[in-house]
Symmetry: C2
Subunit: 354 residues, 2 copies
């Protein structure tokens, strides 16, 4: 079975993404072949396409918020069947045997999980390529089942943005009455507001700039605090059990520490690159048993749990659907935060391209 | 009842401690009058005596690791009786009504706990004075009961150094099989080794300098890792569920993050002063859901729990007993880490002074 696909790829850090033909690896007995319908556009796509983190191997076919339909299954596939609506997130494999994997924390696999793009397949060593393409081949254990209630385009960002917020909300036990802060209103932040609200929390948005009030409230926030306004920050001192900081560039963490309640945690999910160092005033952490932690996407079991929760609660991402051919323009708009709140590529537009 | 006492006090940031006479506040119905037998010498004593943190009010009578005997009780005292061996730690009161106090976290009292010295009494506003004195008056709820098995001098450091290590060990659920690292072998560190070992953990000492092997093993460590040796640090990569960092001066936290296991926490208990900022490389925290947290002494219930545990396990501090008159020399030796591992003042020497 030879699966030749069209895709959009970056061929260098400076070239725009353009049409790229390649052949997917031959399906193995536990593999699922997925016709891709939608692919969300994550900041990471842009970082890797442009080699911002220094380890990109070209060509890069980005895309790790994948929604599709099962078109073929290997002999040993039992989890999904032909025609099923499925999703694929940031990982397509992991060692499945280390302490982290056995806990369902494949994202923290001690041997390194296999990323949906920019990694090497664990079996045959071929480069992995992401969702900006017509089809993908994924081992069944890393295929998520999409509840029928979920909108296809709106579900795509759940696979990365959604679970990136869900995992810390669950790990730090957010429930009815929890006081949660979300820093930044972008792809991650808007999912954070929706999910925290649906879990029963009292939710606050921290933003640098005014004008977010209406959207924030619609998405689930009870209030908006302008993070640069010292009086507003003081008004929420000691309030939060959990603050999830989604900001993906260098910024001062210290103003959020006084906003934590005793025993509270500030969780960073906006990856700042491998070398970024942030000055932290530790005295405010000692006096109040406060913590700063990191969190990376989520495991397969919790991703499925999040999809089921979203279907149950009627939650999906707020998306702007674009054609594949608009991706370079979308990257520029994403850099200016000019999207509410996630671009999703309709892969039909790629399929139609000559 | 007028309780006139001799004490040792600092009268300015630069003067040595010397004899100071003052009158303790009149005991109230819930107060316990304690004849002080031993007082441990904590780094904080020196910091406050010398106004290192900028808020000292003179005269300062330090001492918050107090062991003594009950010599009088108010009408409403039910928790202790005349002749009981008791302890007093870093706090002599708190609001007892805020969320933190109601959880037994008086050290994080939202209105500020009353420190054993350098605070104001919550009822009459008089300055609090610590354990470098003949007697102290403390409300019964902040008096700890000393199990009869505990050595009096060796128990004094449990009231601050002991519970400062105990609280994070318990909060982060250290138990049989936990992998615990202790950074620094001083008053705090040596208690950390003993307590973590007694809780069933596999314990590692991190030290800057060699030569600690024999002592560390005797105190409970399975191994010593030289923190400046990159190969040794690499050999424990991903190992620790909990690392407790006792170092009370500025130092690089980043080498300890790779040593944490997935989900592990680096806890700072060495207070660095109000303004110290430490650069933290956050990427290593995101990739592994790792945390940096602070922890401050411990609450009254957990202090009692720790004392009972120590009695049960035969644990006390390694101390060098000194006379009150040696305190200034002891401070200089403490600054050079020239003590194994805690000075304790025999208050009989103060009582004998003309």
């Amino acid at each position: 079975m030879t699966i030749a696909v069209k895709s959009y790829a970056a061929h260098s850090p400076t070239s725009p993404l353009g049409l790229f033909h390649f052949v997917r690896r031959d399906p193995r007995p536990e593999d699922v072949v997925i016709e891709i319908l939608y692919a969300g556009v994550c900041h990471t796509d842009l970082h890797v396409a442009r080699n911002d983190w220094g380890w990109s191997q070209y060509p890069v076919v980005p895309g790790h918020e994948i929604i599709g339909r099962v078109t073929a299954v290997g002999d040993k596939v039992t989890r999904v069947k032909l025609g099923d609506r499925v999703g694929v997130g940031c990982m397509v494999d992991a060692c499945r045997d280390c302490g982290a994997c056995r806990k369902g924390w494949e994202q923290y696999c001690e041997k390194g999980s296999t990323s949906t793009y920019g990694s090497k397949d664990r079996v045959d060593g071929t480069p992995t390529h992401g969702g900006y393409s017509e089809q993908i081949v994924v081992t069944q254990d890393f295929v998520l089942k999409l509840p029928s209630k979920l909108d296809l385009a709106g579900a795509a960002p759940l696979l990365c943005a959604g679970v990136t917020m869900w995992s810390p909300l669950r790990h730090w036990r957010v429930a009815t009455g929890s006081r949660v802060g979300i820093v930044g209103l972008g792809g991650l932040g808007h999912m954070g507001l929706k999910l925290a609200k649906a879990l029963g929390a009292d939710v606050t948005l921290f933003s640098r700039s005014p004008g977010k009030e209406e959207d924030a409230r619609r998405l689930g926030a009870e209030r908006v605090v302008i993070s640069s306004d010292k009086a507003q920050m003081k008004s929420v001192a000691g309030r939060f059990d959990l603050i999830i900081d989604t900001v993906p560039y260098e910024h001062d963490l210290n103003p959020y520490i006084p906003a934590l309640a005793t025993g509270g945690t500030l969780v960073l999910v906006g990856y700042l690159g491998p070398l970024q160092q942030t000055p932290v005033r530790t005295s405010g952490m000692v006096v109040g048993r406060k913590a700063i932690a990191g969190s990376l996407i989520g495991g397969i079991v919790e991703t499925q749990e999040m999809l089921d929760f979203c279907a149950d609660k009627g939650i999906s991402a707020d998306v702007e659907v674009i054609n594949m051919q608009q991706i370079n323009e979308a990257y520029e708009r994403m850099l200016k935060s000019d999207v509410k709140y996630r671009f999703v590529i309709d892969i039909a537009s790629l399929r139609a391209q000559a």
